[in-house]
Amino acid sequence: MSRKVRLWLLAVGSIGVAVLLACAAFDLPGFGGTSHPYGERAVRSALARHTANVISSVNFDQRAFDTLGEESILFAAVLGTVVLLRETRDEHSEPPETVQVDPHVRRYALIALPVTLLIGLYVIAHGQLSPGGGFQGGVIVATALHLLYIAIDYKALERIRPAAAYAIADAAGEAAYVLLGTAGLLAGSAFLANFLPYGTFNTLSSGGTVPLLNAAIGVEVASAIVVLLARFLDQALEIEGGGSGETGSQDEEAKRS
């Protein structure tokens, strides 16, 4: 298909979709309106279950089974990346050279590291109370570890980050979620049902299983991001040769800079 034909086809399709979207938009309830039947019910049942952060309650209690599905997509995507970015037969890895980092960058990154790590853990632990939870906190924790790469070098990062251990932690986080769901079954209720006492509203021990599921997701997301970045960094900094020469020279350029 020539470029021109393709653009015409795209134009026709886009106009069709645009018309459908516009029709749908004019039929939706007005923006900012007061009618949110699902939202009101979700707020009511979150308060009944003593969870101050309604979003966490929706994610980890009211539709926890959906979150299991989303978590599994995340797990599968990381697994796929690990398989795709492994070292192939015609490649070999070389340890990257140590580079001197600007002392200002080093100082700032080393100060920011423990603070970021603490904020990440705080966000995971307070998911049932304040905006946050396992998904967001996990990403912050993973980011904190990578400040070591910015502050010192790749070797320092590799020392605190054995990728295999994080891959196991990733699987353990996923397993913990499923096991917590099964615990609901054993307690005589449904899969992923809240079986713990709801606790006192607006304290750390409120929300029943919500904080535990949050912690499981936090472990999974943090280790998933670490494993993902480890694969991409290995690809850019360590793995040499194989395939066309073009990417090899890019790797060398990345190493020099």
Binding site: L28, T34, G39, A42, V54, L74, A77, G243, E246
Partner: protein
């Protein structure tokens, strides 16, 4: 104009589609797919917005004292962001392998099969 946010979401989606169809670089195509996906965040948040509403978190406000925005769509957007990021990473890993095996990231040049 109360439908503007919905139309904006549709517009972002179509811009992403245009980029996907005309892309000459697979990395650019993955970026365009992310643009398409971000239109869903705009749509979800627009559906859930409520005038004068605040975040649906009751750690510092008394329940019932203020209107809150719809928490259901916020929860959907939240998981969408994380899952979208990892799926983008998977696609970028595919692009790296394609570039290694075929020496190109132009989708028009990737017509033949190779083992």
């Amino acid at each position: 104009m109360s439908v503007l946010p919905y139309l904006a979401a549709g517009w972002i989606f179509l811009v992403g589609c245009y980029g996907l169809a005309t892309s000459r670089n697979l990395i650019h195509a993955v970026g365009c797919l992310s643009v398409c996906q971000s239109s869903t965040y705009v749509l979800l948040l627009a559906v859930g917005y409520r005038r004068n509403g605040t975040a649906p978190v009751f750690s510092d406000i008394t329940p019932g004292s203020r209107p809150v925005v719809d928490p259901v769509v916020q929860a959907l957007a939240l998981t969408d962001v994380v899952v979208g990021a990892t799926v983008t990473a998977l696609l970028l890993a595919l692009v790296i392998q394609t570039a290694k095996r075929h020496g190109t990231v132009d989708p028009d040049e990737l017509s033949e099969l190779r083992g």
